[in-house]
């Protein structure tokens, strides 16, 4: 899927802006605070009808709406028009100028894979950040996973509340605990199985990508670190005393983690800033392949400030990969100083200044 043109009205610091994008690489160049991230955010919002970092009302230019994003896109078979609008009273989306009744029908038409500097929490953050990442990705492609996860979380809440009540001696019915435990274990087991399969596949793809970007034999693998390795039902039964005395559920998918392992070492503690960034980037690229396989259409890359902390060689390898993959990519940077001319010549370059984007006419130094 590729964006042909996009028009922003009253979005963040853009009053009125039309951009015609290239089918391959698009560089958005500008100093800090000019509107690079805002532009990528607009494309993300067009896809998911919400931001990854802010509330709906923050998207509207100085709070004066309505704010609109309209784009024409090309899929492998046809041209479509997508639009989203935000106002003080709410938001709406339309497909080929037809308002959609349910946003869930709209989300998923346009697929994007976003890299932002905040994604570094995937390595540096806590287990909850990493679980959230897995759940969002899996949830987008597998509705059954989303259902089982939601049911698991609900049963978990019920069970924790029950354990607390039992601790306070408000209730003493072991059968109720047994029943809710079994329910939670059944949903939880399904979640565990799907996470395991997904992480295995992700690890294969991401480590290939890591090797490509670094052109070294350093191995990067992703490891599932599940809270439970045996049968979940039995494990919960065996450890019931712990749960009863602490008044909460101590084992299960809500305590899972994933680990990034670089040359045998836990990346969180050993990897440099640049290496951590490469890990996250590899994961983004791997995800793109993952979506492409399932949806038979390559998603659009949105890469925010991706070059900082990467040396010249890695910046160029990344660009080389993107060109080779024939994906559309929109990449922000403060400068392209390290990027080879042959790559720049194959890209479209835009300069953003105070909420206004202008395409560079001839390819040259920037």
């Amino acid at each position: 899927m590729k964006i042909k043109t996009v028009a922003l009205t009253n979005f963040r610091n853009y009053r009125k802006q039309i951009v015609t994008l290239g089918q391959g690489l698009n560089f958005i160049i500008g100093s800090n605070g000019e509107g690079k991230t805002n532009f990528l955010e607009a494309l993300y919002v067009l896809s998911l009808v919400k931001s990854y970092k802010a509330a709906d009302r923050d998207l509207i230019l100085n709070g004066n709406g309505p704010s609109r994003i309209v784009a024409t896109l090309e899929t492998s078979t046809k041209t479509i028009e997508l639009a989203v609008a935000f106002s003080e009273t709410g938001k709406a989306a339309s497909f080929n100028r037809q308002a959609v009744d349910r946003l869930s029908d709209y989300i998923g038409i346009m697929n994007v894979v976003l890299f932002t500097p905040e994604d570094m929490t995937l390595v540096k953050g806590g287990p909850a950040d990493r679980r959230y990442f897995i759940d969002v990705v899996l949830g987008q492609v597998d509705k059954d996973y989303l259902y089982d996860l939601t049911q698991f979380k609900h049963a978990l809440k019920q069970r924790n509340e029950l354990l607390k009540q039992m601790q306070d001696k408000k209730i003493n019915d072991l059968v109720v605990l047994e029943v809710i435990t079994e329910q939670m274990a059944d949903y939880g087991s399904k979640v565990i199985i799907k996470r395991k399969a997904f992480i295995e596949q992700l690890s294969k793809n991401a480590s290939e990508m890591y090797r490509y970007l670094t052109s070294k034999d350093d191995t990067m693998v992703v490891k599932y670190a599940p809270s439970i390795t045996n049968d979940y039902r039995q494990e919960l039964k065996a450890k019931i005393a712990t749960d009863l005395s602490s008044g909460t559920t101590n084992y299960g998918p809500h305590r899972d983690d994933i680990e990034w392992v670089l040359a045998g070492q836990t990346a969180k503690f050993y990897a440099s800033q640049g290496e951590q960034r490469l890990i996250v980037l590899s994961v983004c690229m791997a995800l793109c392949n993952y979506y492409a396989e399932i949806k038979s259409d390559r998603p659009i890359f949105l890469l925010d400030d991706v070059f900082s902390e990467l040396d010249a060689e890695k910046q160029n390898r990344l660009i080389q990969y993107l060109l080779k993959s024939e994906s559309q990519a929109i990449i922000t940077a403060t400068s392209l100083i390290e990027i080879a001319d042959i790559y720049k010549q194959q890209a479209k370059i835009y300069h953003v200044f105070k909420g206004s984007i202008r395409e560079e006419q001839q390819h040259g130094q920037s």
Binding site: Y147, Q151, H154, A155, K157, Q158, R159, E161, L162, Q165, I171, D173, V175, V176, E178, V179, I180, E182, Q183
Partner: protein
């Protein structure tokens, strides 16, 4: 400016209903004051009191009724060997309207939910346990919703009944998962009851 106190009181009464927030309650209260004449207001008030005075929970099945026992429990033409367990009186009305089920009912008045402070004690279960002691009962069908709470309630009942010589079955949910009986059409409902499975 605040509403005059009597109007404010009326708003607060409407807000006691489930699903009615302040705004809707204000509309109802204003409508009542503007559009009802005094006779209509008296009628409304006495209708509420009459409903409250005349309707009781059937001491056998828990369904809402004017008679003791309810007309379903009193009807000897119905199949006395089978009990359909539902969450609310609303489900009984829905299933009766479909007209295909001819056994007895038992109304739980809710589902197990620690989060909402509902344990077995809060449900109409004691009378169920004594009803199934009667040998004439051969089967119970559990028709609680396919939600986490409905499933937990069904599993709980099944577990308590496991030593009693009784067929325990669960309504077959051709009904979309997570659905309430209330929103199910007659046809799916009949199918669901007919295709119940041993549980």
């Amino acid at each position: 400016m605040n509403y005059p106190q009597p109007l404010e009181d009326l708003i607060n009464e409407f807000m006691k209903y489930p699903g009615i927030g302040r705004k809707t309650a204000e509309r109802y209260a204003l409508y009542t004051v503007n559009k009802f004449d005094i006779a209509a207001a008296h009628d409304f008030a006495s209708t509420i009191i009459a409903a409250k005075e005349k309707i009781i929970q059937c001491p056998i099945c828990g369904h809402l009724t004017e008679t003791n026992p309810c007309s379903i429990c009193a009807d000897t033409n119905r199949n006395q060997t089978i009990i359909l367990i539902v969450e609310s009186p609303k489900d009984v009305f829905t299933i009766e309207k479909s007209g295909k089920y001819h056994g007895l009912y038992h109304v739980l008045n809710g589902n197990l939910s620690p989060l909402n402070g509902i344990g077995p004690e809060e449900l109409n279960l004691k009378t169920l346990w004594s009803r199934v002691q009667n040998e004439i009962i051969k089967e119970v069908i559990i028709a609680t919703s396919a939600t986490q709470e409905g499933e937990a309630t069904a599993m709980y009942i099944k577990r308590v009944l496991k030593d009693i010589d009784l067929v325990v079955s669960r309504i077959a949910y051709g009904v979309p998962v997570g659905a309430n009986l209330e929103y199910t059409d007659d046809l799916t409902l009949n199918l669901a009851i007919e295709n119940r499975h041993k549980f």
